[in-house]
Symmetry: D2
Amino acid sequence: MFNSFGNILRVSTFGESHGVAIGGVIDGFPAGVTIDFDAVQKELDRRKPGQSKIVTQRKEPDTVEFLSGIFDGKSTGMPIGFVIKNTNQKSKDYNHNTNVYRPSHADYTYDKKYGIRDYRGGGRTSARETANWVVAGALAKQLLAHISINAFTSSVGDIFIDKPYQDLDFSKTESNIVRCPDEKSAEQMIDKIKEIRKAGDTIGGTITCVAQNVPVGLGEPIFHKLHAELGKAMLSINAVKGFEFGSGFCGAKMQGSEHNDIFNPDGTTQSNLSGGIQGGISNGMDIYFRVAFKPVATIMQNQQTINSEGEATEIQGKGRHDPCVVPRAVPVVEALTALVLADFYLMDKTRKVL
Amino acid sequence: MFNSFGNILRVSTFGESHGVAIGGVIDGFPAGVTIDFDAVQKELDRRKPGQSKIVTQRKEPDTVEFLSGIFDGKSTGMPIGFVIKNTNQKSKDYNHNTNVYRPSHADYTYDKKYGIRDYRGGGRTSARETANWVVAGALAKQLLAHISINAFTSSVGDIFIDKPYQDLDFSKTESNIVRCPDEKSAEQMIDKIKEIRKAGDTIGGTITCVAQNVPVGLGEPIFHKLHAELGKAMLSINAVKGFEFGSGFCGAKMQGSEHNDIFNPDGTTQSNLSGGIQGGISNGMDIYFRVAFKPVATIMQNQQTINSEGEATEIQGKGRHDPCVVPRAVPVVEALTALVLADFYLMDKTRKVL
Amino acid sequence: MFNSFGNILRVSTFGESHGVAIGGVIDGFPAGVTIDFDAVQKELDRRKPGQSKIVTQRKEPDTVEFLSGIFDGKSTGMPIGFVIKNTNQKSKDYNHNTNVYRPSHADYTYDKKYGIRDYRGGGRTSARETANWVVAGALAKQLLAHISINAFTSSVGDIFIDKPYQDLDFSKTESNIVRCPDEKSAEQMIDKIKEIRKAGDTIGGTITCVAQNVPVGLGEPIFHKLHAELGKAMLSINAVKGFEFGSGFCGAKMQGSEHNDIFNPDGTTQSNLSGGIQGGISNGMDIYFRVAFKPVATIMQNQQTINSEGEATEIQGKGRHDPCVVPRAVPVVEALTALVLADFYLMDKTRKVL
Amino acid sequence: MFNSFGNILRVSTFGESHGVAIGGVIDGFPAGVTIDFDAVQKELDRRKPGQSKIVTQRKEPDTVEFLSGIFDGKSTGMPIGFVIKNTNQKSKDYNHNTNVYRPSHADYTYDKKYGIRDYRGGGRTSARETANWVVAGALAKQLLAHISINAFTSSVGDIFIDKPYQDLDFSKTESNIVRCPDEKSAEQMIDKIKEIRKAGDTIGGTITCVAQNVPVGLGEPIFHKLHAELGKAMLSINAVKGFEFGSGFCGAKMQGSEHNDIFNPDGTTQSNLSGGIQGGISNGMDIYFRVAFKPVATIMQNQQTINSEGEATEIQGKGRHDPCVVPRAVPVVEALTALVLADFYLMDKTRKVL
């Protein structure tokens, strides 16, 4: 219940950033899907630390090992177990923080809730967990080969792409280290992150994600609306503070006569302020949404804080951390999107008896 | 799976707007809670149609009948069954729309997904379902008597309250029909809605919700983060397009050095951009979030559309509909917040063995 | 979680024997199934009290009202809400037992667990709940129209049918009031129950159930084995003490060389000691199992017992109770079998991608 | 859904007998429990192959590695990931059977259901999976340190212990290789199994399990009755054909006046035909049940069978298999019992608000 995601396609994960390994069980993956192992590893490589100058300089190969559920290159319908070993466990980096609560981290809440806390690198709360999601999401993408899912960095700080997503060429997202398909914005974002890093600070940003060729009918009407599950998924990513789809918060300022999407005879719509979802169910138009990430809480500056005894202390800014989480979060957003869509895709098979 | 909400405290609902009744089963409600029936009905009355000039003029008494799970005025630990009869089923109002797809409604997606559709008033997709949630949420509030949950209208169109929530007096929310605790803004909002209604149009808005006195430790670290479940709940409400908590989308423009919440010696924090949640778990500070509602899709203007044969047709603007959904959605936001918190409150009892 | 049954097709029920009504929500029922209401009521009539001389003489019409999820005679894919009103609530019959613990009933355990108990007629623990299951099971049967499910009374006390089920004509099950398709045994069973009732006592028995034309492939390999879910379902029925399928407890005395079912070229097997299930998955052969019911705990004799203060007291044998639960449990066994099979039928649709 | 067990304490497993490893995720295990690693390994050793003359002579060290969720020797409340490597993967033993369906195995049903099958040693259907359960169950036992759970071999073929469990000394169960606490019966059982093995055959048997010091109140009233979940758990074990608790199938022959358990003033009962469970909830008396195992399907004799093309073929009896599964299944029965009780123990914490 606590560490599982999905209904039919259910991923149950485990692992702390400085334990032996992270990993999980992917259950409900249908039989007969040919697995492209390189494609999985490629997704992990997009997320891994040390990949560029503007992300953390930790080194982790992040190699996934599949332990079950795949035979002769195909899924068997049995659960897919996997592990990613932690090779770069510099726990001693963290020894000075054993009873110190880092500001805007989960140290305090974990300690209060569980009465015990793995203080090494955030333990379970580390964004290292998202590598598990990328593995599962990469498999989900292979199940949904007909759907294309493209996430990209749409803002860093106050630098925004000033074009609608329709004017972007998603094939350029991977052409720069900030993962922004608009080259001019990308340059500005990279400069901004370098400047922020030099100042020992961090900065927030947003990711936009577009899912295309989604069939009509994915989603459920009341409590498992497609956008509600997408929102829950995105809000599960470390540092996320907001989610909007279609017209989003702007839609709240509009009038019905301008917001309604008028149908074409073939069931497509002339505008798509609905964001490809009506009544919680995909309508075949592009699904698009935006996710807000706060600035990383670990900064390279000294901060006043308290320890578990309630004593004032100072925490020093050191270690190897991301000045901006957004570039590495792009494949995570895609992975969770794929998992949500795959779950609904399987669920939908049960809703009509032919 | 499809029509249930919650894990330990699980609400399973049913019902269409123009069927015999709506209702549900509230399972996992603990034994021994004294039930205040009037308080439940009072919440329903806040949501019901016809309550003021700026909401739909349909008349529904929305009287809840409890069928089980309560004995001698106390919860017994058994499932609480309830129904709300539909008394105002003017189905004939809808007969002209049997095979017409209303723009930005769920008619099209339902028809494609299920191959059959209850076309009377939206059927299951009607926001009438939210009356079920208000019943369950009212009971959850009684379980969490120590927590206070206050939602209010924070914007209508481009009229926003220009104060932080700390400067508002929540006791004034019910003093006006738009449910805005800031009197000046309330007046402007009411005027705006009247103007919009007169034009046969509709308008969007936002609701802000604040939960206070939430104990430290509610929430789970990975897939059931407190804010992720709150987000999912809010995105389940009809017409919602976005959710943000704490610093939200603004936080995505900020730097870590300004965004971090510095601790006081007692574990409280000096600022609260975290929105009362760190690492998915409540930290004892106020939880606050904002929900964006699009304008209601049913407008009192004629619109071009198609029918199920893909033929162009015109839909006429008539019937009794809300020009702005926000005032009636305020108790719905509170109800779902209470359900999410109550679920985590019960879940938390299992996480530590004393 | 507590009052729900099934995974894809999930039934959530509520209700006490002497409350206003019992009922439930049937979720996940696919769209497009034509509903035969008479068939549902007919199943309820097979379970209802007062139907013959050898069952309780309470009178309850047990009329089901469907509140949602069915439109123009077809299922819509939306949750099917239903209620059965309690019309014969002679609570005063039970007033003398308010704090007395009846032997081998659940009075004591409920009181200890919940700290509160609806003492009227067993409250939630009453077998009245099984009427809910019969409603849901009757719909599941309609979903699985190609599968035939036949349960029957196979023993009462020490009177057993002395034939294999293959030699029985299931069309005769309803021809006598004990629901035994073997006429000679039926007579003996009826006489036995009449004799027991006259003595103010009760007696146990067994029900055998046979499901035929089940397609190959229903069931899951590890924790949701078809027979494990059937067993759980049967053990959920009041008074059940045991479950065996295929060779059952006799199989535990056998050797592999005599127990193995040898294949025919078409995949059928020459013998069927497996009971139609291999590795938790149906193999297309008949599924058959046997369920043991203890004698009803309420007897028409005075018994020594205690009250909630731990004081010795005497409970008097009066009221209207079943001398043998088995005849009325036959439709309940069929209903739960149908629900389990329907759930697996829907689940199976998600296991292979074509 | 498919490979998970439990509600609050949920175990999700993976792995095939001849893959890289088996393992799983134990989620919902509460924080703060001191973990005895040796005790876990000791349970695995009771289950492992090669431990005595009367079990399979395969050699597997079955060493468990914990990957997460335990820190400084205590559970942290985070999911506990674990793996057991497969070191003895003689897949070539199985190459001759790639498309042959072994009688009374799951080869046929898997192939039909999934369209693909890991034919090496049964793949996922192998009883090797039960090693995962023993790991999880050993942890559950540590959570329930106050409860004692004792399973033992109560029959092999037609050799039964002829004493009630109350007359047995459970400390003697491990004193012989068949795990029967009655020395005389144990000798006879061992002789019987040796004789059967010499004949190249296999034989069935039963295991009885007794749980003592279970607190009053574990279990749920309707669909999660304690005995229903125990039954489901037992029926999940490979080769199990039946389950009975308390009076079981014998109870079906009895009368209410002899079957009812009369209370003592302290709430205990004079007899315990209820088997420690009333209305699905533990009453504080001993919980006892019996599980029937069929003879192992793999025999050392040649058998006629078919292949996936439906052609007649002969399967040869070779390999290293158990002549009787019961001795090695004793720790498996205990493990699942512990898991069920632990799940209900945690669930019960949510049922009453103090």
